[in-house]
Structures are given as C-alpha cells and as structure tokens.
Amino acid sequence: MSIDIRLPTALRAFADKQEKVSVDADSVGDALEKLFIRHERLRQQLLSPDGKLRSFVNVYVNEDDARDKQGLATPVKDGDTILIVPAIAGGSAVLELELTTAEKARYHRHLIMPEVGAEGQKKLKNASVLCVGAGGLGSPLALYLAAAGVGRIGIVDFDTVDESNLQRQIIHDTQSVGTSKLKSAEKRLKGLNPNVAVELHETRLTSANAVELFKRYDVIADGTDNFATRYLVNDACVLTGKPNAYGSIFRFEGQLSVFGLKDGPCYRCLYPEPPPPGLVPNCAEAGVLGVLPGVIGTMQAVEALKLILGIGRPLSGRLMLYDALEQSWRTLKVKKDPACPVCSENPTIKAPIDYEAFCGLKEKTVSIPEISVQDLKTKLDKKEKFVLLDVREPHEYEIAKIPGSTLIPLGKLPERFGELDKGAKLIVHCKMGGRSAKAVQFLREKGYDATNVAGGINAWSESIDPSVPQY
C-alpha cells in the first residue's frame, strides 16, 4: 500500500531535499519507521532519544490529527497522505523546570533542609549565574554552583590554561594546559553535574557587551583580577539591576561583599576611584596563596546561592576582609553613597564608560627610553658605569635577581628616590617591564636619566641566564 509522507521545508534537508517520500505501510508508525530507515537523520530530528515523537511534531493522516485517531497505530490505506507538520511555538515564557527523580536523589542533602527543600532546589534549577572569569575565584565558585544544581552557569573568559594557573585554579587540570579555559571548565562542570547548562562566552568583557550579557543572568559573580573590569562589572550590574557577588584576592588577603542590591551600596560607593595605575600589583606580580581564592570564591558561591534562594542575610552593606596569616575575618560597614555616580537616585553614569581610561591605563602614551636584556648584558660585560635599579618587591628579589642591582620597590620610590645619585645613569627593571616603565616615567619627571629594561628579569632568564629562576 503506497502512502505519501509529506515533509515540511525545515526537515527536507534531512531527506535528500524531497517534499514527499512514498512508502509501503499499513499504519502511521509503520510508515514513519520506513521513512526513518531510509533517512536516518530524520529519526534524530523527529524522535527523542527514548523513541517518542518530539514536542514540536504533529502527524496528520489526510486532514486529521493522528492523535485524535489511534496515534501511531492509526491504520493507513493505499493513496493516503501522512503530513508531518511542526507545531511552531515558543516565546519569551520561561517555563519553570521541575526536578527529575534523579535530581531529587542528587540534591537529597539540600531537600531535607527546610530552608532549601524541593522549592528552593527548584529555584536553583531555574536560576542562572554569570561567573566573570574562570580563574582562581571562578574555579571554586563555578564548581560549587554546578554541584548545588544552579540550572544555568555562564562563564566569561578568553584566556588559555597556563601551568602557573594550576597552583590555585582547581577547575582546570594538567592535561588542559595550553587549551581554552572555558572548554576546560565546561568539561569539569559537566562531569560534576550533567544537569547543569554551561554557557561559554569566549570574549573579553567590554563596555559594548556587558549590559546585554548581564541581562540574561539572575546573579553576577565578579572574579576578575583587574580594576578596569571590576568597575565595568559593578556599573553593568547596577545598570541592569543584577546583584554582584564580589570577591577579590591579594597575597594572603581577601575581600568579599554583595553589591548592587536595591537598597545596598555598590563597589563605587566603597571605592569611588581606582588606585593609581601600577600601585597595586596584580597576582602575577605580587603572588597569591593558592588556597586563598578557594576560600573567597567558595564564599562568593555561598552568597550567590543565598541570593537565589532568598534565605539568610545577604552580605550587602558589609565588606568582609579575610586575613589568611592571622586566620581572621573582619567586617566593615559600607554605606550607600547618596552621590554615587551610578547607584544614587541621580546617576551621572547611565551606560558603561571607557574603563581603561577611567583606571588611567591609557596614559602610558609617553614614550620612555628602553633597552633589551641583550643590551643590558653588553653594558654589564663592558663594565659601563650605571646603576641597575630593581623596583620589584623584596620577596621577588629573594627568588631571583640580576647581580649588582639595587632594590627599591616601586611603591617606596616616591619616598626613597632621593637615595639615588642624580648624576648617575639609571637602568630600571622589574619582573616583566611594566612596573619599571612606571618607575622610569616617575624618575624622569624628577630629573633622572632613567632607562627601562624591556621584558624584565623574566626576559633576562629566558635569553641571557637560565639559572635565574622565572616565577
């Protein structure tokens, strides 16, 4: 019995572009099975993995919906036409997802606490968190959010895994060195909890994309390592009305707070202005105790979960300071600034600004004299007269130094530059050339003849003396 099966435009691509496929069959189910045997890719499109017709598929026999007859068992006779018609539906509705039986078992320890319970767990499943950064803070943060069953976890990062990350960034592993941080994080999170949707945003967070991105999430968790992005995250959170579970780390100390709640302060209320560029070194320059981001990132996860569940007291209006050496926590009150340029009643910032400029990162246009490590080596070999000034921190000096150098950390330079001989030729280096460039600029303003060493001691170790350790 020859039956015509007619396909909608969207599905013909999976059936050699045919509008119509003729099969011999005696029931709707039989006809579809014969269609699928011929066009296997159609099976995947029309049937779910458990073999049922997908939600968007309607099957008609001539003019009648097969569901109104006997479903797949509906008999067909020679000359009948089976129409496959998609139900075109959708919309902005976010359907509330229910917990599956497997999820109820997985989240048992949450479900038995009345503060969370099945209702709370459902809130977590239907919630979304955006982790800004897949580094030290982002690692424990994303892992615990996934373990807790937060339904949608977004991560923004554009970096690759470096071996020196693994001392603290526990979401990545040795095998992932050199690969995308996002892919590495996704693999780990999916392995931990396959129920969670992981959304990867492989891009630098910018003033152009932050607001649109933040709109799609319920909570933003700031795990960035620089001031420009931190102010951007803050402003975009306030502009989109999203809470910011904030954390930051430095050497042995951490900070934690929740910004951007309706009646609470924002990061700008606490720090209206960024520190001068270069004054506060980042983790790559100053180091960080590997477990510190574990402590702070985990606390950010606690705050994110509390915000979603609506339980406890969010850490808004309070700044917690953690000191790992003292093993102590201090809590400071943070007031909302009635004149805050972003979160006050009359804000002056109504869209993201240029944060690089705001943080003074674009002022480095003044060109400063610079030499390579090879030039430095030649000068040392020729025993030319100059002072080799190292502007790193004392502990860095302990790890690695170029023989004969004088140490004055960049932060101490404004009070100690007088120790330097004004007539001397100064050659200045740091770890990678960034801090020393600032030192050179400062010294030249004070009338010194100062020159920067491009690439710093790391370049020295790489090209001149491998016995000097890189760190």
Binding site: R6, P8, T9, A10, L11, R12, A13, F14, K17, E19, Q45, S55, F56, N58, Y60, L83, V85, P86, A87, I88, A89, G90, G91, S92, A93, V94, L95, L97, E212, K215, R216
Partner: protein, 148 residues
Amino acid sequence: MSLKLNRAVEAIAAATCEKAFPEEGCGLLIGPIPENFEAPGRVLAIDEARPLPNGWDASAKTNKYLIDPKTLARVEAELSGTGRGVVGFFHSHPTVPAWPSPFDLTMAMPCCSYWILQVKDGKVADSRSWQRTEDGRSFIEEEIVLEG
C-alpha cells in the same frame, strides 16, 4: 550564516509585533529554499513575511506564541514545487530581550531562522535572528542583513 530581509519584510514583521504588544506577535518567513539549507553557514533570502494569529489562549499570549499547524500545512501545500518554502519564523518578545528562551529551544526546528523582535513600550527595540544547532542543544546567532 545570515538572514537577508528587505524593507517590506522588516516593516510587516515589525508592524505585526508592535500591534500585538503587550502580547506576542508571530508569523512565517518565506523565501527560496537554499541548496545547503542545513549547513551552519547558509544564507536565507526572505521575500515574504506572512503574519499569523497567535494561537494560544488569551492568558498565555503575553509570553507565548503558537502557529496553527493546519495553517502552516496549507501554506506549505501552496508553495509545494515552487522552490520556495517556509524557511523561518518570526515572533516577538514583549519587553524582554531578543534572546531565545528555553521554551523556544524545546520547540525549535533545525535549519530554519528564528527571528526574534524585542518590543518595548509598543516599539521594536532590538531584533536578533537565531539558528538551532543540528543536535538541538543550543541556538547560534546569525547576522541580519537588511537589503533594498
């Protein structure tokens, strides 16, 4: 990967969605069926937008749309053999952004373009077009090219 629209198509879709506000508006996008329809890089050239009524109950129309399958079947029959077909769909998201919702993903078909228009205060504020991946797990945004 892109969706080419002409001014008339854009105007009809925008007017349909603005008129439907605060409910969702919807309709079909019709044009030649490209040889490489299922390819992720395919280009669709839409030459007709056909508005259709939102088939949900009144209470659900503010955040859902439904196109009657019988109407769709009728249009497909009308286009049969012409090389043109229903290659995409448009609908509006009143107030909320033009990103596909989980519901959009559950119901999405492969190959087609899903053009979403965000309507704010009765005016189209943003519009984005999306193509479902073949595995059905996500949407990829495609460029909208306005011509003519």
